[in-house]
């Protein structure tokens, strides 16, 4: 199968407008004859469901939490980018496009990224119209900040709770359509299979998380907006329930999975404190605007921070990257923290941490100033660690945060299964090998509010309005297979818990497919994952039945999918013999910096499922017509 990006021809700046004009439209009276399933109601899903319902489609929306308002998007802190140029500091659609392509280490599709930058401005208008309380200046206009190493101030924010406010905006739009009867919402309902009929996605099979009932839902198109797969690593900044099952099961049904090895490791997280740790907490990147990162110069220096004199401290980011200093992109900051800890210069009890020090900022501007800017983050740090970050430097360490990889989609956000779309973090599209801060919220809302409402029409206009019944044999087959999987899991009756397997998988992934990877380590990981997976299916312990609220069973089938996805990530990392963005192969570097290989690897890897642990690689060559590929340098 040849992968066609369907990116329109023509000038970059005109592609989207031209495409919108060329796409087929569904006549307004016909829209109500089409049913659309939206799985996931985070930023991407809630915005899509609301917008499609406003257009007149009948929408069924699903989420695993008790309410759409609780999706993982709620936890985003820092902000959302948009090329508004409200600060008159030289921003433009082209600059946002360029920064995103470069930040992604030239592994994203130009046309998609340009469209993202174009619609970014509409997102802010939409959110403000909904009543999202963005930060404002005294004159009453919107405030911006610079974020994640950007040279312009284009990030809109709502204190440290931007994701919450954006999600509540999308949730309110969704709620309005639920009240209108255009969206039927299914909370605590998990999608566990896509059903295809004559090669097209025609519905899903779900499990009711309260009663365990397995049910089928049919539609004319299915949207997966189910978020990222960072929890493969067990420990990550993702919410506990984030999982890959929807995307992975679509992959098993024929949707290609792209660039699974591109994982973002965020540099500023609270370090692991013990074996009991269930998740890691992100400290917003904005802290690096005023905090200075350092470790002792000497390895094994056990003195408390306050007793280490200035000239015995190594401000390693400032030293190595004088022009960007503490504001280097995430991948660079994370990798360097790992280097200094590997050298034995890490701090704290575990030695797996570096200092983030606000002493200078406090001296310069006073504690009040720091508290006004970062108060909620400092409080959170104090609650979790029991330490006072105004008096002693914070300790931070990198943690898995975001997954750039995901289901392959074309310019219309359609996967390789006709009628199956992927939006938000669930797809692979816009961030290449490394995502810039404040760009995930932008992408999720761009996909949901401003892309899918157009592109889905082009597909549906060519579909007959006839519905399929869920009594169709394909639905019955999928339901049966799912029930069998539940029974199989419950009947194993082994003696190891799901969390034990998950933790072990996470450790393999973190050690071998985390911040730095090598062929040798990846091969070992592949073997270990296979063994672990085989053991899981023999020895996992699940109690209770599948006909009730069963928290262990839920975790078990999600971890079963992680155990396969982990192997796919390793395959992808092994295949990509270069370093780019979040993917760092030890064999391909110069002075510890990532060394890309554009001649051989300027492509999107798209994996096709060929049976458990078996794959076929397809490639979408990336064509750069507008930007020149350069080595990223932040020195």
């Amino acid at each position: 199968m040849k992968l066609e990006s369907k990116a329109p021809e023509g000038l970059l700046a005109e592609k989207w407008a031209k495409h919108k004009f060329n796409m087929k439209l569904v006549n307004p009276a016909n829209k109500r004859k089409y049913d659309v399933i939206v799985v996931g109601t985070g930023l991407a899903g809630a915005s899509a469901a609301a917008s499609l319902a406003e257009l007149g489609y009948n929408v069924k929306a699903f989420c695993y939490q008790d309410s759409p308002r609780r999706a993982h998007s709620i936890a985003a802190q820092g902000g959302i980018n948009a090329a508004k140029n409200y600060q008159n500091d030289g921003d433009s659609v082209y600059r946002l496009f360029y920064d995103t392509i470069k930040g992604g280490d030239y592994r994203a599709r130009e046309a998609n990224v340009y469209r993202l930058a174009q619609v970014s401005v509409n997102i802010i208008d939409q959110c403000v119209a909904q009543g999202v309380p963005f930060a404002r200046e005294y004159g009453g206009l919107l405030d911006n900040r610079s974020f994640g190493g950007s040279q312009v101030s284009r990030t809109f924010y709502a204190r440290g709770q931007t994701g919450q406010q954006l999600l509540l905006g999308a949730y309110s739009a969704l709620s309005r359509q639920i009240a209108n009867g255009k969206v039927t919402m299914y909370p605590r309902t998990e999608m566990l299979d896509v059903v295809t009929i004559d090669g097209k996605a025609r519905g899903i099979v779900t499990r009711n998380l309260v009663t365990g009932a397995i049910e089928s839902h049919s539609a004319h198109a299915v949207l997966l907006c189910t978020g990222g797969y960072g929890n493969v690593f067990f420990l990550s900044t993702n919410a506990m329930g984030c999982n890959a099952s929807a995307a992975f099961r679509a992959y098993r049904k024929g949707a290609f999975f792209s660039n699974p090895c591109y994982t973002q490791i965020h540099p500023t997280c609270i370090p692991v404190s013990g074996d009991h740790q269930s998740k890691l907490t992100l400290m917003s990147e904005s802290l690096r605007n005023d905090g200075r990162v350092w470790v002792p110069k000497k390895a094994g220096d056990n003195r408390p921070a306050s007793q280490i004199p200035e000239d015995e401290r190594d401000y390693f980011l400032e030293r190595k990257y004088p022009s960007f200093g503490n504001l280097v992109p995430r991948d660079v900051a994370s990798r360097n923290a790992k280097y200094v800890c590997d050298e034995g210069r890490g701090v704290g009890e575990t030695k797996l941490a570096v200092y983030l020090d606000f002493a200078d900022a406090i001296k310069r501007n006073g504690e009040g100033w720091v508290s006004a800017k970062y108060g909620n983050l400092f409080d959170m740090y104090a609650k979790i660690t029991g330490e006072n970050p105004y008096k002693q430097p914070m300790r931070i360490y990198p943690a898995v945060h975001y997954t750039m990889g995901g289901l392959w989609v074309d310019y219309n956000l359609m996967t390789t299964i006709p009628g199956l779309y992927a939006l938000g973090e669930c797809n692979f599209s816009d961030h290449g090998a490394n995502r810039l801060g404040a760009s995930a919220l932008m992408q999720g809302l761009a996909d949901g509010y401003f892309v899918i409402p157009y592109t889905i029409g082009d597909y549906l206009a060519g579909m007959p309005v006839t519905k399929v019944e869920t009594s169709h044999p394909e639905f019955q087959k999928a339901e049966k297979a799912l029930k069998e999987q539940m029974t199989k899991l419950i009947n194993i009756k082994g003696n190891k818990t799901v969390d034990q397997y998950h933790r072990e998988l996470g450790k393999i992934m973190w050690d071998q497919c985390g911040m730095s990877r090598s062929a040798e380590g990846l091969k070992l990981a592949k073997k270990q994952i296979r063994e672990l997976r085989a053991d899981f299916w023999k020895n996992v312990k699940i109690l209770g039945t599948d006909e009730e609220l069963n928290i262990t069973l839920e975790k078990a089938y999600r971890v079963a999918d992680f155990l396969e996805l982990g192997e796919l990530m390793v395959d992808d990392a092994l295949n990509r013999e270069e370093s780019c963005g979040g993917h760092f192969r030890e064999e391909y570097q110069y002075d510890g910096e990532a060394k890309r290989n554009d001649d051989e690897f300027a492509y999107v890897a798209a994996w096709e499922y060929k049976g458990e642990g078996e794959t076929q690689l397809h490639k979408e060559e990336l064509v750069f017509e507008n930007v020149k590929l350069t080595q990223r340098s932040y020195k």
């Binding site: 508004k84 403000v128 009240a179």
Partner: protein, 263 residues
């Protein structure tokens, strides 16, 4: 890897098989609990032990574990979210307790929040209140440029304070009347303060309050315990504001009726 000695605790936890069955408090012992653990991590440890012993683990709601999604909801020692002020259950850490303590853990208790299992309750009544009017009716793409709606910073800040509600339901759980006034008023206030919320202001207040009553939430008797336990410290000012909004809405509605009738 904390070197501090762990704590031994007794837990008394509400167990209830499903919506229709009766529940009861059951005793559990946990040992060697690190003060650095979060309250939910302590439950993870207990659940692992139960599972290995062949006992059904305790179901509880949680997701972000960062104090923002509003999913976690434990009634700890007679207080929603436990002893720390302005803190959700997931952000509560075990250093709040001491060796030998007995801790009572129950679900939110309120008629409009039926228990589904153990500590998990159904809070969809909150969603239905928002559906009744907790939004600005604006379709995607039909907007003006964001900076054409300037909003004075103090107003924007005040609206933000109301908007931080995480919809966890602690306010209802603590109230002896199971009143949802703090939750409902926070949304009404946020939108009443902002220019975007003006066109539907009266209708919104009326509809949301009606839905709140229809769901069976009780009346407010001004004890203020809702605000005291709110993990986001939403202020009682919101309730006062809502009462004014609701009254004005009723008067407006009455006037409109008379106007329509040609009186």
């Amino acid at each position: 890897m904390s070197t501090t000695k762990g704590m031994n605790l007794t837990l008394k936890v509400w167990r209830q098989k499903n919506k229709d069955s009766e529940g009861k408090m059951v005793d559990y012992k946990v040992s060697n609990i690190s003060p650095d653990m979060s309250f939910l991590e302590m439950f993870d440890v207990l659940n692992e032990e139960l599972l290995l012993k062949g006992e059904d683990p305790i179901a509880f709601d949680h997701d972000c574990r960062e104090g923002i999604c509003g999913m976690c909801s434990m009634y700890i020692n007679g207080k929603p979210h436990g002893p720390w002020k302005g803190t959700t259950t997931c952000q509560l850490h075990m250093r709040a307790f001491k060796d030998g303590d007995t801790i009572f853990v129950e679900p939110w208790r309120a008629k409009p929040f039926p228990v589904l299992k153990d500590l998990v309750v159904d809070r969809t009544s909150f969603d239905r209140i928002i559906q009744a009017g907790g939004y600005v009716s604006v379709n995607t793409g039909v907007t003006v440029d964001a900076n054409e709606i300037p909003i004075a910073k103090p107003i924007a800040d005040e609206a933000f304070n109301s908007a931080t509600c995480i919809g966890c339901g602690a306010c209802v759980a603590t109230c002896k009347n199971a009143s949802a006034m703090l939750f409902v008023s926070a949304k009404i206030t946020q939108l009443a303060l902002l220019p975007q919320g003006q066109p539907e202001r009266a209708k919104r207040a009326q509809k949301m309050v009606e839905q709140m009553d229809a769901e069976g939430f009780g009346a407010c008797t001004n004890t203020g315990s809702c605000s005291a336990v709110c993990p986001k410290e939403i202020s009682l000012f919101n309730i006062a504001k809502m009462n004014r909004e609701y009254l004005t809405a009723k008067v407006t509605a009455e006037e409109e009726k008379q106007y329509a009738a040609g009186v």
